[in-house]
Amino acid sequence: MARQSKPTMSRALQRRENIAGYLFMLPSLIFFLGFVVIPMVICIFISLTDANMNSSGQFVGLSNFIRLWTDSAFLEALKNTFVIVIVSVPTVCAFSLWVSSAIYRMKGPVLSAFRCIFYLPVVTGSVAVTVVWAWIYNNYYGVLNYIIGPKGLGLIEGRINWLGDPKYALGCIILILFTTSVGQPIVLYVSALGNVDTTLIEAAQVDGATDFQVFWKVKWPQMMPTTLYILVITTINSFQCFALIQLLTKGGQGTNTVMYHIYWTAFKLTEQAGHFGYANAMGVVLAIFIGILSAIQFKLAKEK
């Protein structure tokens, strides 16, 4: 009798625990569904319509997506976005790894100081950071022109309009993005380097491995999960570059990105028929690109 009742009680207990677990999950689930899944589905649905801001519009099939590939403004935004991703992701990863390698053996307070310095731009509001950079880049009284201009190092004659010249504007944006992106990877890499199994390093050194071989054959594989996370997060952040563009250039001078173009189409071109559906189509395309790149990164990291 006792042997028969035990599984019954166990299932009841399991059920109660499951219910409790689901109830604990419920708040997060509501947010996840409400702010991620449902908007995503709505976005895909609207991208197939000619919706405007306050009207649901008619189903137009894939015509918004077809139109995207003939829209020179969108294609330019896509190109700029890829330039930002291609330049910023590797440099952020490489620089973070380099800095982390240099500081992770330092003693507590010094290491903490470095971590604070590099992490500061991350915790500072993006608007505050951007305002400071806008002042640095200012054409008329910016500190950068002052330092490299005739009154400073004398590297240039006159001034450079950093944010108003297409030769420099995108590079300036990437530099700001770089400074605000390296903080978290540095902290993560410092932590990952500290967790590398020292017995493996010592064994490799005893076997005559060079420093580079120790890094490449022992440390790097153990840091791969961290690297993958950093790659994915940095890629997504770079694809979603918006605040810097909005605050500094408004998409002008070769700095238009897909994120900014979505905002512009959805909220500024309100007089254009079907602007909401079209902006949603851009969002879907952007999500597809982010998904593809992230999948490639996962695949490569797995092979490694």
């Binding site: 109830l23 604990f24 306050n54 309009n161 250039t249 002008g252």
Partner: protein, 460 residues
């Protein structure tokens, strides 16, 4: 276990309730955007019980001093004392105000009242049916007292009044007169009439550049902010136009505009600066970095760069003089600004009536004087129900400046072409075109391409 379940249930309940609370009021009538019939009776009663609503919302763009709570709140307090209706005010910025309003419209959370100009109220939100037709508020006296140009601009082509005009001005440019004098460029100014010819403008820039060997003025083109200045400069230099007289087509590919662009591009001392908007440019003149600002008006003359410094003075105390834009014969056509109130139809007749009550109180009674005063602009009507509004600034610190501006700038007010359909998109094309001109692209091709896009936007 029971405790766990209770806590879990309570957490889930709290979260669900907070989400429901975030959703706002579920007013079934809010979704309607159909304007009420034009035959609605005018709001006459000052008793809140008669209108039914005791609280309405007003979103205001920074129209002169209407952007500051210390100016606006006393007016709202006075309205409440008179009518019992509370007006909750939210202050918009030009940078993101349109986004906020458009998002609110999309979410059926638009304010009851909005303060701005016809380019937004008539051409955009009014034309799309989001605003209430206020023509029933206009009495014969109102029609005779309101400046015809203002009334026309605030009325749609099908005769609906989407903006009740309160104040107006003509945009002009500002110059640092001390810098002009130091460079000997003041000889090119007609300081009696505040006018100059295009030829003298070019000579003045040359003289200023020769004196300082640095940028004299900037054709700002980072965004649309203050673009009335660049449009007026380029249109006036050789008599070009921005739209046709019927406001059915953008015409800035006019050869006279192309000539002006080529002239500006060739001038030392003038830069096409894509890092500046109008607000940035006038601050640079206030800081004595630039010698001219193309984004200027009476509100700036009274409070340069909104820095609360001395009227008509730079940060260093140098004299700022407002000037008409240069034109071939010194007879400019200035770009106007007309501001007033519009009413969103949020589907609640009681709130619409309360909002109409406010519009009448603010724009069509003696209270208009206070609203105009804080705007630092000029009244859109010389009298309100027989009460003179032309002398409201007399005796104040700004009285003499207003009187002078009224004499030399306001009479040159030209066509209010901002009501041309597709206006928001056309503005984007304008500054994108200026950026291309600044980047040495072919001017004629660039102008033609962007005008074509702007005209395509007219069709919607």
């Amino acid at each position: 276990m029971k405790m766990k379940k209770l806590v879990a249930a309570a957490l889930a309940m709290a979260m669900a309730l907070s989400l429901a609370a975030c959703g706002g009021q579920n007013n079934s009538s809010q979704g309607s955007t159909t304007p009420p019939a034009a035959s609605n009776p005018p709001a006459q009663s000052s008793n809140p019980a008669a209108t039914g609503a005791t609280e309405i919302t007003l979103w205001t763009y920074p129209v002169g001093g209407w952007g500051e709570e210390s100016n606006v709140q006393p007016i709202m307090d006075a309205f409440k004392a008179d009518t019992g209706i509370t007006v909750k005010v939210d202050y918009l910025a030009y940078g993101d105000g349109d986004d906020r309003v458009n998002t609110a419209i999309g979410a059926n959370e638009a304010p009851d009242l909005i303060m701005e100009g016809p380019e937004r109220l008539v051409t955009n939100w009014g034309a799309k049916g989001y605003l209430v037709d206020m023509s029933d508020l206009l009495t014969d006296t109102d029609r005779s007292e309101i400046a015809p140009a203002a009334l026309t601009a605030c009325t749609s082509t099908d005769g609906k009044l989407y903006e009740y005009p309160l104040c107006m001005t003509a945009h002009c440019m500002g110059i640092n007169l001390d810098a002009f004098k130091a460079a000997g460029a003041d000889q090119y100014l007609d300081l009696e009439n505040h006018t100059w010819t295009t030829e003298n403008f070019i000579k003045a820039v040359e003289a200023l550049y020769a004196a300082k060997k640095d940028t004299v003025a900037a054709v700002f083109c980072k965004g649309q902010g203050g673009d009335q200045g660049t449009r007026a400069l380029i249109n006036n230099m050789y008599g070009g136009t921005f739209t046709n007289a019927e406001h059915t087509q953008y015409t800035w590919d006019d050869p006279n505009n192309i000539k002006a662009l080529e002239q500006l591009k060739s001038m030392q001392g003038i830069v096409f600066d894509a890092s500046l908007e109008g607000g940035d440019e006038l601050k640079l003149m206030y800081q004595e970095i630039l010698d001219m600002a193309f984004c200027w008006n009476i509100a700036q003359q009274l409070d340069p760069a909104s820095a609360h410094g001395d009227p008509g003075k730079t940060i260093g105390g140098q004299e700022i003089v407002c000037m008409n834009f240069p034109s071939p014969d010194g007879t400019p056509v200035l770009q106007g600004g007309i501001w007033g109130l519009g009413i969103f139809n949020n589907g609640d007749p009681a709130k619409v009536e309360a909002a109409k009550e406010f519009v009448k109180w603010m724009c069509a009674s003696e209270n208009a004087a206070q609203g105009i005063k804080i705007s630092n602009f000029f009244p859109a009507r010389n009298t309100v129900n027989g009460t003179d509004l032309t002398a409201i600034f007399d005796g104040s610190d700004s009285g003499d400046i207003m009187k002078e501006y009224n004499r030399v700038i306001l009479p040159n007010l030209g066509d209010y072409y901002q009501v041309t359909p597709g206006w928001a998109g056309a503005r984007g094309e304008w500054w994108a075109m200026l950026q291309e001109v600044g980047n040495d692209q072919d001017i004629t091709d660039s102008v033609a391409a962007h005008v074509a896009v702007a005209n395509a936007l007219i069709a919607g």
